[in-house]
């Protein structure tokens, strides 16, 4: 028996290291990267630079917040990038009625797309990956049909949304921060948040406990679609143009990456809102660091791929004792 116990020690230690890495790895990495940059990167500690980084990461954060909810239910939403494009096209089409109606229509279009995906997943029983894949293809096409080319935008109200700031903090960043706070609150403090975590943790038990599982799943995809549309609106405002052809391309990958690196397992049952934001920041910082040190984009992508694999490998060993 003593031998057996001794034999298990290293395994336990490894599990503990992995658990620790899952829990705090993303925070430590962001900190380490910040420190590295402060010491080694010239002009890094410059408010302008910080602002640029945060403005760039804000849409990813917003989309990733919705994605975290979806992944928490053991689902996935591949349609987010196309929804951003659809939102851009809606803004272009309805800006004539003023910025507020245009933004509302864009958000409604995102919600509607999410509702279609959610209905397919919850009520028809289609796998999330297929349902949202179909939307990825179709919705991008729809956005392009509605607005075939890049269209410049000159409405001052909308442009202010993209470039304005309060006390030096851009609106875009404020909105992302506010949405993060709201999402953290929703996940921790509301019935809705608690229930979707439970669904991801054990769907059968949730059903037997009387949770309206289908309705909740539908709601999750609607939220993801709405947030993606919001990100699309903000990106459009910042670009000063509606670009349904290329806006949001690969956004689903960035968002999934942020969520997974942030410690939300793909198997659901757990949602880490702050971790997700950190995951997005980590990827952004990493890319910025590599570029600032004259490492090309290509290496940034390869390193990102390696980090995703490492994060998932660590997460995959959950429960291995």
């Amino acid at each position: 028996m003593a031998e057996a116990v001794a034999g298990r020690r290293p395994g336990l230690d490894r599990a503990r290291v992995l658990a620790w890495a899952r829990e705090y790895g993303v925070y430590v990495s962001v900190l380490a990267l910040l420190l590295f940059n402060v010491v080694f990167t010239p002009n890094f500690v410059d408010p302008g630079n910080f602002r640029t980084q945060l403005v760039q990461v804000a849409p990813i954060v917003i989309v990733a917040l919705g994605m975290a909810l979806v992944i928490g239910t053991e689902g996935i939403d591949l349609s987010v990038g196309s929804v951003m494009a659809l939102a851009a096209s809606m803004v272009v089409l309805y800006l004539g009625y003023g910025p507020v109606p245009a933004v509302l229509v864009a958000l409604a279009a995102g919600a509607a797309t999410g509702a279609v995906g959610g209905a397919l997943v919850a009520y028809v029983g289609v796998q999330p990956i297929v349902a949202t894949l179909a939307l990825l293809v179709g919705v991008r096409g729809l956005a392009n049909v509605l607005v075939p080319q890049l269209k410049e935008i000159s409405n001052p109200g909308l442009l202010a949304l993209g470039s304005g700031s309060v006390a030096g903090v851009p609106y875009v960043v404020l909105i992302a921060a506010a949405l993060t706070a709201v999402m953290a609150f929703v996940v921790r403090r509301t019935t809705f948040g608690r229930r979707i975590v439970a669904i991801g943790g054990n769907r059968t038990a949730s059903e037997l406990s009387g949770l309206p599982v289908k309705r909740l799943l539908l709601a999750v995809y609607v939220i993801s679609g709405t947030l993606a549309a919001g990100a699309g609106v903000l990106a459009t405002a910042r670009l000063q143009a509606g670009d349904p052809t290329s806006l949001g391309l690969f956004m689903e990958l960035s968002a999934i990456t942020a969520v997974v690196i942030g410690g939300t397992p793909l198997s659901g049952g757990r949602i880490r809102v702050l971790g997700t934001v950190m995951g997005a920041l980590l990827m952004q910082l990493l890319q910025a660091t590599l570029i600032k040190h004259d490492l090309p984009q290509s290496w940034a992508q390869i390193v990102q791929a390696a980090i995703i694999l490492a994060a998932v490998y660590a997460a995959g060993n959950r429960g291995a004792r």
Binding site: R189, T190, T191, T204, L208, G210, L211, P212
Partner: protein, 521 residues
Amino acid sequence: MGAADAEIPVLEADGVSKRFPGVLALDEVSFALRPGEVHALVGENGAGKSTLIKVFTGAHRPDGGRVLVEGRPVAFGSPLEARRAGISAVHQEVGLVPDMSVARNLLLGREPRTRLGLIDLPRLHAEAERTLAELGVRADVRAPLRTLGVGTRQMVALARAVSVRARVVIMDEPTSSLEPREVETLFGVVRELRDRGISTVYVSHRLDELYQLCDRVTVLRDGRVAHTGPLAELDRLRLISLMLGRDVAEVRAGGVTRFSGEHAAAAEQPVLEARGLTRRHVLNGVSVSVRPGEVVGLGGLLGAGRSETAKAIVGALPLDEGEVTVAGTTLRRRRPVGAAIRAGVSLLPEDRKAEGIVPGLSVRENIALAALPRLARAGLVSEARIDALVETFMRRLRIKASSPHQRVDELSGGNQQKVLLARWLAMNPRILLLDEPTRGIDVGAKAEVQALVDELARDGLGVLLISSDLEELVEGSDRVVVLRDGTVAGQLGGGEVTEDRIMAVIAGDGAGDPSGEERHG
């Protein structure tokens, strides 16, 4: 068929033990399978049958003792190694690939080839047809396996086992969803195997089948061998008493459970009435009613339809026919489980892990799960109310956890069960359906759960109690409904609720009240 010579057993367990956290699943079990015999392996849930089968098929490694194949000790590292040693298990759901054709399933890995080394389809089909025909099975070998009836699928699995030169076939509840005609064919195949010298371990709770088919029997109970010997020498009642661990001759008057027995006189009107619950292969017109303050036991052997009845009542099992009324109102079937819960009917499911707990969440979250809307205002969860509720129930049920924030899957089985009970009591139910509430939990927790059920009934709750533990059933219930093969085999009330009466109804000796009519009193 008496292959009773002193031959070397083809498969043998010699003092095999297997321990899981908190449970000794097998306690020095010895078992010997003779060449060419059909050996019944019986026992109630938790007796250790499935663990023993898993040891034989390489899915579990024993902690103590030896497994021998034809006298030679073996240590299977994987199910594949056991297969290669000639031990095939035929399960109902696993074992074959449903979307592949019958022929491809049958001959997977041994397909006849053309000269180019490609699979020879005409020969593949011919060979598959011949193999099946030898066992007296007719099926379209080109059709996907999935399109066959369950029975025929099992025949294919058997045929495959035979054609990979299995020496031992282990069949686990093979007839539970077969039509009578299919059962006959299956028996034919098993006898054919016996004539070829292949031994069969036959696990079933259908006593008729055991007596028709099996030469010898081994009864497991609480991880130990309760009996082993020729089946013909054992009459039905005696077999049941061995399985349930109650000696017919010495059923004690007093019990060791914590049930007090009598409950406050039940109200006249039933609070729960289920009528004619029917689902093909599973339930056939089951009717049960529960009055406030009454504990109704649901008895019967495994597979008789007890859990299915409970699930059907809350709407978790789709029904072909039947209706459920709670306090006179018929439950809507569209959003079934939620509707049942709102009407005050709660189910404590049998499979704690798969259907009960949410393993990644804390004790606190698990207790509050169903009651969340009641603990929230405008969708915002009140932590203070949850804390109050959780504290109340953790104290009342004496849930042992390091804190309410401990992950529920780190608790012992008994404490997990109490967490689930707390989840339902927090809903203030009118009726509790308890499916094996004390299975797999330690003695102390068991007594606490039993005392709690008693107390709840005295407070006017209606309880439907499902238990394989006959003692628990007898001492806990005011009335017992006995199920057999998905129908009500009899009802026992008042002084009739005794272990031997229940066993007699299970055995089908005509005791009890087979008419299925309600009895009051």
